[in-house]
Symmetry: D2
Subunit: 370 residues, 4 copies
Amino acid sequence: MAETIGIGMLGYGFMGRAHSSAFRQIRHMTWPPPLIPELVSIAGRTGDAVAAAAEEFGFAEHVTDWHALVDDRRVGLFDNTGPNSTHVEPSIVAAEAGKHVICEKPLGLTADDSYEAWQRVSAAGVKHMCAFNYRFVPAVRLAHDIVVARELGEIVHFRAAYLQDWLVDPSVANLWRLDKSVAGSGALGDLGAHAIDLAHYLVGDVASVSGAMRTFTPVRAGADVDVDDAFAATVEFAQGALGTLEASRSCPGRRNSLRFEINGTGGSLAFNMERLNELEFSEGTGGFRTILVTDRDHPFMQNWWPPGHILGWEHTFVHELHHFLTAIRDDGDVAPNGATFEDGYRAAEVCDAIVRSADGQGRVLVSYRD
Amino acid sequence: MAETIGIGMLGYGFMGRAHSSAFRQIRHMTWPPPLIPELVSIAGRTGDAVAAAAEEFGFAEHVTDWHALVDDRRVGLFDNTGPNSTHVEPSIVAAEAGKHVICEKPLGLTADDSYEAWQRVSAAGVKHMCAFNYRFVPAVRLAHDIVVARELGEIVHFRAAYLQDWLVDPSVANLWRLDKSVAGSGALGDLGAHAIDLAHYLVGDVASVSGAMRTFTPVRAGADVDVDDAFAATVEFAQGALGTLEASRSCPGRRNSLRFEINGTGGSLAFNMERLNELEFSEGTGGFRTILVTDRDHPFMQNWWPPGHILGWEHTFVHELHHFLTAIRDDGDVAPNGATFEDGYRAAEVCDAIVRSADGQGRVLVSYRD
Amino acid sequence: MAETIGIGMLGYGFMGRAHSSAFRQIRHMTWPPPLIPELVSIAGRTGDAVAAAAEEFGFAEHVTDWHALVDDRRVGLFDNTGPNSTHVEPSIVAAEAGKHVICEKPLGLTADDSYEAWQRVSAAGVKHMCAFNYRFVPAVRLAHDIVVARELGEIVHFRAAYLQDWLVDPSVANLWRLDKSVAGSGALGDLGAHAIDLAHYLVGDVASVSGAMRTFTPVRAGADVDVDDAFAATVEFAQGALGTLEASRSCPGRRNSLRFEINGTGGSLAFNMERLNELEFSEGTGGFRTILVTDRDHPFMQNWWPPGHILGWEHTFVHELHHFLTAIRDDGDVAPNGATFEDGYRAAEVCDAIVRSADGQGRVLVSYRD
Amino acid sequence: MAETIGIGMLGYGFMGRAHSSAFRQIRHMTWPPPLIPELVSIAGRTGDAVAAAAEEFGFAEHVTDWHALVDDRRVGLFDNTGPNSTHVEPSIVAAEAGKHVICEKPLGLTADDSYEAWQRVSAAGVKHMCAFNYRFVPAVRLAHDIVVARELGEIVHFRAAYLQDWLVDPSVANLWRLDKSVAGSGALGDLGAHAIDLAHYLVGDVASVSGAMRTFTPVRAGADVDVDDAFAATVEFAQGALGTLEASRSCPGRRNSLRFEINGTGGSLAFNMERLNELEFSEGTGGFRTILVTDRDHPFMQNWWPPGHILGWEHTFVHELHHFLTAIRDDGDVAPNGATFEDGYRAAEVCDAIVRSADGQGRVLVSYRD
């Protein structure tokens, strides 16, 4: 029988809700689950709100200071779903207190603080994960498996665009996602970081970037917006492929469209997250086949539903947390299929390079620190 | 705060798993939930298996005789997910013991026993639901709302086909779904019943049918198959529309493809369950717009995720059970958006007419009993 | 070098325009062409109109009585593009005068007069073709080749629907296509005949049909409409497959949507004429691959454009006429890839069976005369 | 009645074939045509080959020196379809001899020689056109009309990728398109020029570019390849939009995929040339509607076929040449809907900027000469 692990969560927004729901569904992905999560306590600054969230999400307790989670002996896993500016310090403190840590992306506000988070959490000897959940879409894992099996031959192109439309309306008010001091950046860190992580996961190291950024609506609700609405970048990969990366929150009709395409000398793959159960695969030049990635032998699908019964976006979190719990239970590796804090740092390094490039520095070489 | 309701479940197969998972997610659809389900006990004939299922699904207890659920005072809702041949009697007995009843489709093996189930359960005064879960796909509800608002004008065509491919392989062994005494029929009752219920829900009464049935693989594993692999029928609706209905489990590449299209004098709708978050809508003749049915103001979506974050197949059960729990709590109506036992009976009446038509009776009029 | 052949055309409407344009493009499909068409003369009842058409279409002369074409020694090929009611007699007379004959579909207004046309034209010893041009879509020919090579195994399903939307507007005035004495039937003969011919071409003989017909708008511009707006039929094929056939001109948003799907024990094909350069092919159950049917080794494509440069609807006529000219030049067979008058008759036999079935006769057996 | 104009053509390859076919179809687009083209003479260096082409394409005569066309008084329109290196000089000489000139793209091998071509041809006072035929796709013109009508509001994004796959096979031998001295560049000038012209046509001036180029297969058939297999660039438009441009001939499964997407503050458009009859339009954020651009009131479609009967790739040339003949007849403007030599030059200016950027110059400002 499975053992239990206590969960302490920081943050009760969109991601807090998604992680909480996922913890409850772990048992439906495999039985027995690797570990049985117990929702011990949730932290947030506003007492009433966090109390309501605790009840709704199913946490037994709530606190208004995250340090209480770190000090709580019942907590074995610290789940950091707070705003971007709260990612680094609490993650480090929790790890140094011996908690395993999963932290939402982007890991830090800059490459430097992301690096520090990685170094210190890693030094603490705990398991760590940066919640790039799109690695846990079955179609994305299948894409990865196809690449690793060299069914595409040498990869020559990677293009990814993560497009949304909720900021095309200039009356959308200032959220924390529009405040640089809290979010670090705009579309770049919020959406682009996912595309960059997938580039790393599917193709490998980025050698150089050349990009531009735009804030199409510089004032909202009377306040200056100091983050980007969109960026675009040309990318050269270390192994020789040529790529484009893009993200925007100003693309009408694209609700949540993370699309990527990989071309290799032996075939191509295409994916669109609005149809996340599908992977398009051209074996050679014969045309794209739409694989409905719901078969029993597809990644993550062994214990879900019969073929053709699709999963939703939230299942990416179930798969991700299941992966992390398995690594904790087995003292196994989160990498390479799960993103670690190292991967979080590496994405930040590319983000920073794009910012520097857009700031007039032309093509910028990317150097990852060890 | 929400009150609790005890759940007693019959059956621990595919549907038992789906319902159990859904009960756990009710709280994520709305908080507070209409009622808080408590998984009291689950019944199945094979002791070891049902014991394992109880643990996996989260039921506190398990029994090998469903009568124990009916006698259990803690059970307020009897959830019948057993094979088709166990639908009628236990549902009636449970209702007559005062339990609210939800029963999987098809309601009975014939129109006659379905009618009896409806009459007796209804007479018992409890809430009753036939689990036509596809009414609870957000895109299907949206389609219904568009029809009801008369945005399509007069409906002139309805065509639905529910296609799967798992029986195209002749080596697939004899399951209960291939045994007439347990399943009642093959593709007709398993898949076609869904299409028929959607015809009722979206267009209305069927006036006549003319159909044909086929068993493409008459022997499997040495045993005769006595149910249909496929049927097709032409349908005339009482309000004048012309339709086609079809189901098959022998369509390679169609994993779980329930498609329908509605044409009216003012516009058209098209749906495909393999892309269940999408509804295609042609307002007038201007071409089809793909609506990603994930906005906050779309049906059922108020408390799920931000726009563009898609739901999975299993969420249909969350919505369905939430609807039923709400009706129980409020002493409200399950109809018209939820299917009652009356709807289960009416679908069976059409199924039977198709069988008679295929048996050489040509065009068969459908008459529904009151 | 190629010899020439004189063309005499009856009719100058939509089809007259399409055939005339195609004759001019034959040389672009292969060089040299099988025969070089010379547009000798065109016949129509209204002098001014046919004179204008002759000039526009490139005919050297025009006449108001089609008998003049039959008597014209320069005419080697009689191209009958007149309204349906002018198909039978002129085709017979022309053939009996020794002209090769191509006639638009439907061949006659009934199975009986279609049969007579076939018998007499065939007895005359000339080449004859019924202009079912959709056999000459490259993707359709490719589908046929795949079926013939048994890559689909045994065919178990065929479903075809030919949907348009121009009659959903009740103010569309009475055209000849809405007059039974000229058109014979409505959607059935106009659109359904194409679907029926494809059923014959791709699957084979029809054993029985069971159908229904509807006239949704029975009065237009003050006059009664005596043809159908739509039909639907269930079909049993002689070789065992189950099918549905449907046509309608009242489907908003479906401009010219001829779709078919074939399921076999070994795979499936799907086609949509609005995307006529594409064929979807599921080899086994692995999912549908979209083949862009524009490669040099695809049917008809050897001398067109490089891969990926799509053809249009009108090219079906170029391929069809090229096929017919080749048969004339070589004294070869029009069948099986081209439709002969026999195929025209056989389609009419199925149409008539559908009419009888819809007239209250239930399931109707189809018997083709030799 | 229409007057005639004599056509002298240089080149008898892929484009010579396409233009010749189109001249024959002008009359089918409108009757009477603006001018009736007479195929006077065609020039090519290899006598036998050009003689065969003359016969196939329908030219009355052929010559092996293009100067003969320029000296031919019967020639009113010089149609330059030769390899890229023959674009500039013959076009200038023909114009200075008083011939109207249409020249295939790219206009020159560099921005400088393209500029000279524009200046001198323009000074000659004849009509001139650079054959960016994709402006004459009905869906592209419709996109342009939607942009001009400001139905998209302010444009914020433009992304275009022109992807093919024929060079992914390393055994494809050295063609003129792989020889820099003849072609000027690889994917950039061949495919990218189209994407750049559409960027100009749909969005406007490019302010800066930042790009990278790759030759994935540097040696073919023992010879060095000195042109690019692919490029990618980030683009900043003068009016503020952010863009990406890309072209490659190494993308398996992408036969001839020119895709673009435009996002504005009020809506979005998407196009894919493999489905060139379709335009996807999201009015506001409501989702994309697929417009089948075949209605009578759609661009160019007034005299083609009834709605839903699709056009092919070659019709772009019919529309383009019709446009040019109309400008000649009326002494009207080729711009803004047709591309002039000025547009050819401007595309070359952007191409050159991309080359300089890829050569290590980072972000490069684009300045167009007057």
